[in-house]
Amino acid sequence: MSNPAKAVHPASVKLSQGLGIGYGSLLAEVTEDIPLENGTHYLLARNGRGKTTLLKTISGLLKSVAGHFETTGCCQFVGDELSFDREISAKMVFHALIPAERRGEAFKLAEELELDVTKQFGKLSFGNRKKVGLIMAEYRLRDNEPNIIFYDEPFTGLDTPAREAVRQRWEDTEQDVLRIVSCHPDFDAMAMPSALLITDEKIFRGGNGKLTWADFKDRLN
């Protein structure tokens, strides 16, 4: 798999201490300055604690309740609900949205993920629908620009081989892209070198580069 976009400068996200997120009222607050650079950063929290709200806030879709943050790079927010018209196929989506020079790579990843790109979106299974948005985002990275992708629960519905293929892709391109991924891991050994945690209305950074999901899950309230 090739690296799709070599950025001149690395992407960065800086969450300042005191940044508050929520819909009008405060849902959670950042308790320490959190600087993030290229690589994959997992966002872990139990349901309703503000994972999606945090992603939407730092991708510019929601106003913060308090404090501030900075992002350097071209953002993509791939929401949990992202879907396309029932009658359009993944192939047509890729043709419409992925630059021609990267389309071949996108189709290769689709093949690896066992996604039937000719099938209508409405006829795809839930997991396969998720793959369409995921592949689209991965190959819409901009050349010569820092890139940031915010994934909201991208693994929901994906089988283990597909998750592994996606994680492999992320590993191969981690020098070029900053990814923040909210998820509910389902196996304890899943490595999480960098993680943001939301618990007790607090957002903080966890991990020392060697931790796994098993180390984090007890810390989530």
Binding site: Y23, K56, S59, G60, L61, C74, C75, Q76, F77, V78, G79, D80, E81, L82, S83, F84, D85, E87, I88, S89, M92, V93, H95, A96, L97, Q120, G133, F150
Partner: protein, 257 residues
């Protein structure tokens, strides 16, 4: 541009455009034969022109406006609007991206209507023929000035309130402007009418001005340039009002999000 391409691809994938184009081509050819044309051969050509433009109106109202509402609704509901906004594509670019793609599919329908009138219903007299072409071009301009802003309104309203309201509101406005306003105009001419109705009439969209079908049927010739520009000016002002309202209504995310 990305949303424009995605909308175009979606419209192609939905395949309804095939039915629409076939209807635009074949109804003006076939339907006029239901008139008593054997006994009155002169009926055939005006009937063709009438059918061609009536079908264009029907396509505009039934297809274009429904597609507009559907895209407005799905853009906010499915996360596509949020995705593009996170990429820096703001609401104005999004609404016009979808609108341009929808209108691009309407252009061939209008071109077919003009083509049908010019190829199969053109008067043989040279002066009449020239007026006939002008009338059709004026009709096309006014038709697009009517349906275009209403499609924009459909996208804007549907993105906030859903596809049903996004379709019903511009459609009702269009049908009212085409036919209802005429009845209201007759009512306010009666003695003892309610003065409120005069205000309602004055504020109503006068879309019947865009329907030049009677001019084609009765070969009344094209609108004088002054009158035509006056109507264009009126519709441009209406476009600004409706367009502003539509863009203000437009949301890239569903309500409460």
């Amino acid at each position: 541009m990305d949303l424009f391409r995605l909308t175009l691809s979606t419209l192609i994938a939905r395949k309804m455009w095939v039915v629409v184009l076939l209807a635009a081509i074949f109804t003006p050819i076939v339907f006029p034969y239901f008139t008593p044309h054997e006994t009155a051969t002169k009926l055939l050509e005006p009937a063709r022109a009438q059918t061609a433009w009536t079908v264009t109106w029907i396509i505009g109202i039934l297809w274009t406006l429904s597609q507009a509402a559907r895209f407005g609704d799905s853009n906010s509901r499915t996360g596509i609007g949020a995705y593009f906004r996170s990429q820096g594509c703001g609401p104005i670019r999004q609404i016009f991206g979808m609108w341009s793609a929808i209108m691009l599919f309407l252009l061939p329908v209008v071109a077919i209507a003009i083509g049908m009138c010019v190829l199969f219903a053109m008067p043989s007299d040279a002066t009449e023929a020239s007026m006939w072409v002008n009338t059709n071009l004026q009709f096309a301009a006014l038709f697009l000035l009517t349906i275009g802003p209403l499609a924009l309104l459909g996208i804007g309203v549907a993105s906030r309130f859903g596809a049903l309201i996004g379709y019903v509101l511009p459609t009702a406005l269009c049908v009212y402007g085409l036919y209802g306003v005429g009845y209201l105009g007759m009512t306010i001419k009666l003695p003892g009418h309610n003065p409120v109705l005069e205000w309602v009439y004055a504020l109503s969209p006068q879309y019947h001005l865009a329907n030049l079908t009677p001019r084609l049927i009765f070969k009344m010739g094209h609108l004088e340039m002054g009158a035509f520009l006056g109507i264009v000016g009126y519709f441009t002002a209406l476009t600004l009002v409706i367009g502003s309202f539509a863009t203000l209504m437009f949301r890239t995310d569903p309500l409460r999000n």
